[in-house]
Symmetry: C2
C-alpha cells in the first residue's frame, strides 16, 4: 500500500525534488531525544537543517520545547509557529537590533555574545529581556572566545551580569572540527577533548567565584556517536534529523539513517565517457563537496529509486561535477546500461542543510509536501 504510494510519487516527479523519508527522520529524532532523556540533558536541536514548521512538529512529538536557529529571521519564523524558547546560535548582528527586540518581546530569545563591544551594545539597545550565552571556541576557530582565555571570558561575564534585561545563561560552543574526523573512535576522542575544554572554562570561572553557568555544546557527528551526555545542560545538534553523505563519511551515521535525497531526472547519457547527466545542479544540490578516498572531488552519492524510496548508494557511481542546473554522474558500465533517458536517479547530498535550504520544500515518501522558510524581499 505505502510502497505503491511511494512509486506513484516518484513517477509523478518532473523536476529536482527533495525526498524526505519521514520514518527515518522521526527515528533519528527519537533516538537523540531518548539519549538526552537518559542523560538528563535538554535537547535544543538546531532547526537550520530542516527550516520547516512541519518537521518541527516531529520534534515536539518527542518532547522538544527549546530550539536553536541560525538567524533572527529563522527564529521569527519558528516563533510564528509556536516555538517560544529559541537560541540564535550566531553572533549578535547589531544591524538587526530592532528585529531582536521585537522577537525578545514575544519569546525567550537566546543570543550569542563573544565581545565586550557587543555586550555594551546590548546593554544600551535592548528593550526586552534576553538570554545570553557566551560563545566559547573549544578548538574550532570561527567565532567565540578561545577556551584558554579565562581573563577575557571572566571580563565578559562581568559585563553581562548586572543588567536587568540580560540573563546570562552560560557557555556555548560549536565543535565543528568533528567534521574532519573519520570513524567513531576519532569522533569520541575529539568530543571528549572539546567537552573537557568547555567544562574547564566553567571550572576556571568557578574558581573566580563565577557560578551558575550552563554549558551548551553539540554538533551532529559527535552527538550521533556519543551515548551519554550527563553533565551537559543541553546539546544543540541539527543535521542528525536528516544526516547526509558527510555523516556517512565521518562514520557517525549509516546510509539507512540518511533521511533526505534529491530525485533528479536523467536528461543525457554519454557512453564514450560513461557519464549520465541529470537535471540537478548547483542550485539544487549546493556545491558542497568532499574528496573521497580515491582523491576524487565528489558532489553526491547516487542511488536508484525503489518502491520504498531509494536504494543503497551505487558503489560505481558518483556526482563528478555540477553546473547551475546540470549534475554530471560518472559511473561504471553496468550502471550506465541500467539507466535510461527520462528515468530518475537519486542523489544523496553531501550536506543536507544546504540542499534543503536550496530546494525550499520536500516531499515525503507518503506524499506530503513539507514547506520550509522562504525569505522574500520584505523580510
Amino acid at each position: 500500500m505505502e510502497r505503491a504510494q511511494t512509486s506513484r510519487i516518484l513517477e509523478s516527479i518532473t523536476v529536482p525534488t527533495l525526498l524526505l523519508n519521514e520514518r527515518r527522520a522521526r527515528r533519528n529524532i527519537a533516538r537523540m531525544a531518548e539519549k538526552c532523556r537518559r542523560s538528563g540533558t535538554q535537547l535544543r536541536p538546531h532547526f537550520k537543517t530542516h527550516q520547516s514548521a512541519a518537521v518541527g512538529e516531529w520534534f515536539r512529538a518527542e518532547g522538544v520545547t527549546a530550539i536553536t536557529a541560525s538567524s533572527v529571521r529563522m527564529a521569527a519564523y519558528f516563533a510564528e509557529h509556536g516555538w517560544n524558547d529559541i537560541t540564535v546560535a550566531f553572533p549578535v548582528n547589531w544591524r538587526e537590533i530592532d528585529a531582536i527586540n521585537a522577537l525578545a518581546a514575544r519569546i525567550t530569545l537566546g543570543l550569542l555574545v563573544e565581545s565586550l563591544e557587543t555586550a555594551d551594545f546590548l546593554r544600551e539597545r535592548l528593550t526586552h529581556p534576553v538570554d545570553v550565552w557566551i560563545e566559547i571556541d573549544s578548538g574550532t576557530p570561527r567565532t567565540g572566545i578561545l577556551w584558554s582565555e579565562t581573563e577575557q571570558i571572566a571580563a565578559l561575564v562581568d559585563r553581562l551580569r548586572d543588567h536587568a534585561l540580560i540573563r546570562l545563561r552560560g557557555l556555548l560552543s560549536h565543535h565543528g572540527s568533528s567534521y574532519g574526523c573519520r570513524g567513531e573512535v576519532q569522533l569520541k576522542a575529539a568530543w571528549t577533548h572539546s567537552i573537557e575544554r568547555l567544562l574547564g572554562v566553567r571550572a576556571a570561572l568557578a574558581e573566580r567565584g563565577i557560578s551558575g553557568l550552563n554549558v551548551s555544546p553539540g554538533d551532529t557527528p559527535s552527538c550521533n556517536v556519543v551515548e551519554d551526555f550527563s553533565g551537559l545542560d543541553e546539546i544543540r545538534p541539527g543535521n542528525f534529523v536528516y544526516n547526509d553523505l558527510m555523516q556517512v563519511i565521518n562514520g557517525s551515521a549509516s546510509e539507512k539513517e540518511v533521511a533526505v535525497a534529491v530525485a533528479c531526472p536523467v536528461v543525457s547519457k554519454h557512453a564514450e565517457r560513461l557519464q549520465i547527466v541529470v537535471y540537478g545542479g548547483g542550485v539544487h544540490l549546493s556545491k558542497d563537496s568532499f574528496v573521497d578516498q580515491q582523491g576524487r572531488t565528489t558532489y553526491g552519492a547516487v542511488a536508484f529509486p525503489t518502491d520504498d524510496g531509494w536504494s543503497e548508494s551505487i558503489p560505481g557511481a558518483w556526482v563528478k561535477s555540477l553546473s547551475q542546473e546540470h549534475g554530471v554522474i560518472q559511473c561504471d558500465a553496468e550502471t550506465f546500461d541500467r539507466v535510461n533517458l527520462g528515468d530518475l536517479l537519486i542523489v544523496i547530498p553531501v550536506h543536507s542543510c544546504m540542499t534543503a535550504d536550496l530546494l525550499k520544500h520536500a516531499v515525503t515518501l507518503t506524499g506530503d509536501t513539507i514547506d520550509m522558510l522562504v525569505l522574500t524581499a520584505g523580510d
Copy 2:
C-alpha cells in the same frame, strides 16, 4: 543626491543583501548589444544569471527580443513577463513534456536535442510546434554530440527534419572551457578554436546536402573579449550582465564592470588571527570558489561600502571560508583595524549567477527592489 541615496540604502541594510549597480549592468548590456548589432548577430542573452523580469526590461530597452533560459520553469516565468521567443538551453527533460507542450502553445519555444531517443520522444509526444537546436560539444564535454561525430549529427538531423511540429533551427554549443582561460589572448584563441569546430560541423553537414542551419554559441568570457561576431547567427552569453570575480580572474571583465556584490554585516572580529566574520555564508554567496595565485581557496573578494556603492576590492582581504551563515574574511592588519562590529563589508561574489539565485532579490544603488523568479512547491 544619488550618493546620499546610496548611503541611506547601505545604512538601512540589516541582513546579507545583493546590491545591484544598475548603471554598470545597463552598460554591460548596451555594450554587448552594440557589438551584436555591428556584427549582424542576434543577441539571445541567457537570463539564468539575473532571473528577473525587471532586469529583463533593461535588455528589451536595448532591442533584445529573444532570450535563453536554463529550465522550463524559468522559461515559463519569462513567458509570463512578455517574452515570446525563448530557448531552454538544457537537454529536453522528458518528464516535463506537459509543461513543454503548454509553453510551446504560447510562445516560440526552443529546445535542445542531442540524442535520437529524445528526437523520437518529441516526435511522439509534442502537441505544439517547437524550435529545435542540436547541441554540439565543441570541446567542453558535458552535454552535446562531439563536433567530430558528423555521422551521428547527420543522423539526428534526419530524424528531426520531417516532423510537422519540429522546426530544426541549427547547431548550439556552450564553450564552458573558457572559464579555465586566463587573459584575453587565451580567451580569444580558445574561442576561435571552438567556433571553427562549430562552423566545421555546419560545413561537414553542408557537404552532405544539409543546409539552412544556424549556429548559436556564446559564453560570457569569450563574448566579453571578442568584438566581432560576424558569421554567427546568434550568441547566448548570460553572466556578462553582472560579471563576477571569475570574469575578473579570467581577464574578460574589470572590477568596474562587476554589477553585483553582497552587503554583509560584520558580526565578529578576531585580532589574534586577523579574521573578520560577516553575516553572509554559503546560503547567501554559494560555495563556488577558485584557487588564487597564492594557492588559496577563495570564496569572494572584499570591498568597503562607499557612497556610490562599493570600493575596488581590498588587496589584503579575501573570503577564506564559508559555513551556512558565516563568512570568514582573512585580512591584513590595516583592513582589520578599519572595520568595526556593526559595519557592512561588501563581498564580490565568485559566481554571480549562483549568488543571485540564492538571494532571490536585489536592491539597486538607487533603492529599487528587484524581484526574481522564486520556485515554490506548486511549480
